[in-house]
């Protein structure tokens, strides 16, 4: 009998122990998160930049940011730059929360996102191209045709002058800045004009998989950053204008937008060094200039 009682005691004791352990873990975890926030160090300015820079956000900015990161780390061996995707909205919200140092975005800051502390660094002008599978025999689409296709009013290529074929619409995820700009400028969706996209549109999470999906799916159409354009997909003219750096610069091709790097407050230390590097003439001309319009040329 006493033995049995003792066993019961053990059970209760164990329960308490487990609970304590859990609470301890939780408490330890909370402490940890506070102490880990300061990721950038501001020392060692004389011998290059050192410290860690983290960025996340737009997949349109991703190739630029990655290239900049690897060149920057070559020049400053003590610095470490981590770049991740996630979409423009993610980048903006994470830089506001302090999760990352730099939020990359391929659209402007929205009013409801602007809390006054965000600093905008425009790094380039990008063009959104309407891209189709190379097998599609259509070379030009008007504004209304594009609207019709993406809202589901037009479902067959024969309706816009192509061969018979069911159109597969490919769009980007909701957090994408490219989608935001495309919806706003090409489809003219706004709060006052809420247009439903076609339900059959397939969502893709990055410019890369958008390119891949359009390239491998017959009769498909999507939209993509100019920097991702290659010969696996075909960019069509929009309202008769070919998307090129020139037409975007003079404004005749309307689907263009700035690419941004946002910081929470004025950047310091390694973050400042990194952004200065991205803005440098050398990087802007040699890297950004290949696929985008350098901010230095505007």
């Amino acid at each position: 009998m006493t033995r049995l009682k003792r066993l019961k005691g053990i059970g209760i004791l164990t329960g308490v122990l487990v609970l304590l352990l859990a609470i301890g873990l939780l408490a330890a975890g909370c402490g940890e998160s506070d102490s880990k926030n300061g990721t950038t160090s501001e020392e060692g300015k004389s011998s290059g930049v050192s410290g860690k820079v983290t960025c996340s956000g737009s997949t349109t900015v991703l190739p630029i940011a990655e290239e900049a990161a690897s060149m920057f780390m070559d020049e400053n061996p003590d610095a470490e730059v981590e770049v991740q995707g996630g979409g423009s909205s993610t980048g903006i919200s994470q830089v506001k929360e302090g999760v990352v140092d730099i939020g990359n975005a391929s659209r402007d800051l929205k009013d409801e996102e602007d809390d006054g502390s965000i600093v905008d660094h425009k790094i380039a002008l990008d063009i959104i191209c309407i891209a189709v599978n190379p097998g599609v025999g259509v070379d030009n689409l008007t504004r209304d045709q594009v609207k019709g296709i993406f809202t589901g009013a037009i479902t067959n290529w024969s309706e816009v002058g192509g061969a018979d074929g069911q159109i597969t619409v490919v769009i980007r995820d909701a957090a994408s800045g490219t989608r935001e700009i495309f919806d706003e400028k090409a489809l003219e969706i706004s709060d006052d004009n809420p247009v439903e996209l076609t339900g059959s549109a397939m969502e893709t999470n990055s410019n890369g998989i958008m390119r891949e999906t359009v390239a491998s799916t017959p009769n498909s159409i999507g939209y993509i950053s100019f920097g991702y354009l290659d010969d696996t997909i075909k960019a069509v003219n929009y309202e008769g204008v070919t998307p090129t750096i020139e037409t975007a610069k003079d404004g005749s091709y309307p689907l263009s937008r700035y690419l941004h790097m946002f910081t929470n407050g004025e950047p310091e230390g390694a973050v400042k060094g990194f952004i200065e590097f991205v803005m440098s003439d050398e990087f802007q001309n040699d890297v950004v200039g290949e696929d985008y319009i350098p901010i230095t040329k505007l």
């Binding site: 059970g11 873990l25 939780l26 330890a28 975890g29 909370c30 940890e32 998160s33 506070d34 102490s35 880990k36 997949t59 991703l62 190739p63 990655e66 290239e67 690897s70 981590e82 770049v83 991740q84 995707g85 999470n205 990055s206 890369g208 998989i209 390119r211 891949e212 290659d230």
Partner: protein
């Protein structure tokens, strides 16, 4: 006569079904290996670092991360699952507590891995502030695989004949000593097989890991708090990012390599199980 014909037809049908099943699995294995093995054996690919949007990236940090995560997860799983299994198999009586523990183990085993991923992300990554890290990923898959290891360990312990225990206890050994010196050693092969199968499962796990351990590692993780993207998750990431011009080759190669690793480990696990099983059977016959 009709019964005989039905029997013959059924035999043919089941033959076809059996062969279809095995050929589906072999076909997938074959296609993956055929497409990717050429890439997977290139040293520059295995030992290289990922290059983001440039061609020619390698997967070494991801391979190492996979093994780090597996090792760390086992380090957490093994003591807990073996101790729990000992409790369930040797000590526990069929009471309310025992039944509740078993229910919880079953529930844990039935939860989808993506739910573990969500949990790991909330608790380890955000709440504890560890970020995408080796430790967050390891703890997440440890939770995910705890029930299977626990169950296989419990089964192995239960399959040890009662006579072994009785003999040891009658010689005056304590209960714990009996378990440690007699029961556990006899159950080791079973536990080992279960563990090896778990290694295979952890290596192939992606849904629970991409948002706890990280999507991509540019260098081999050098601390517990470094991001440690495992190979399986990286395959998904490369596929969904599709950035590098040779991304298809990277996915093909990684998939082939991962498949080889997993199949070798699973095959090894079965071999170990077989080997010990034969040996114990032979031993028993001699007695």
């Amino acid at each position: 006569m009709r019964a005989k014909r039905a029997d013959r037809i059924a035999t043919v049908v089941f033959w076809i079904i059996g062969l279809v099943s095995i050929s589906i699995l072999l076909f997938i294995t074959g296609v993956i290996l055929w497409n990717g093995l050429g890439k997977a054996i290139q040293p520059s690919f295995i030992f290289g670092r990922p290059k983001g949007f440039k061609a020619g990236g390698g997967i070494w940090p991801m391979i190492v991360s996979s093994f780090y995560i597996t090792g760390l997860a086992l380090f957490v799983i093994m003591p807990i699952s073996i101790l729990s299994a000992i409790y369930l198999a040797e000590y526990a009586k069929d009471g309310r507590f025992t039944r509740f523990v078993k229910f919880c183990v079953d529930s844990l085993a039935s939860m989808p891995s993506i739910v573990f991923g969500l949990f790991g992300m909330t608790v380890f990554v955000i709440l504890f502030g560890w970020g995408y890290s080796l430790i967050a990923g390891s703890l997440t898959v440890a939770l995910l695989n705890l029930p299977t290891v626990m169950r296989s360990a419990e089964e192995s312990l239960r399959s040890v004949p009662v006579t072994y225990r009785e003999a040891s206890l009658s010689l005056g050994a304590s209960r714990w000593k009996t378990i440690r010196k007699v029961v556990l050693p006899s159950a080791t092969p079973g536990i080992l097989t279960g563990t090896m199968l778990t290694v295979g499962r952890i290596l192939g796990e992606s849904a629970a890991l991409v948002y706890t351990a990280g999507l991509v590692s540019r260098h081999v993780p050098d601390s517990l708090f470094d991001s440690a993207a495992p190979l399986a998750g990286y395959i998904w990431y490369v596929q969904t990012e599709a950035g590098a011009p040779d991304y298809r080759a990277i996915v093909d190669g990684s998939a082939a390599l991962l498949l080889v690793m997993v199949l070798v480990i699973n095959f090894g696990a079965r071999r170990i199980g077989n080997y010990y099983q034969k040996r114990t059977l032979a031993g028993e016959k001699r007695v």
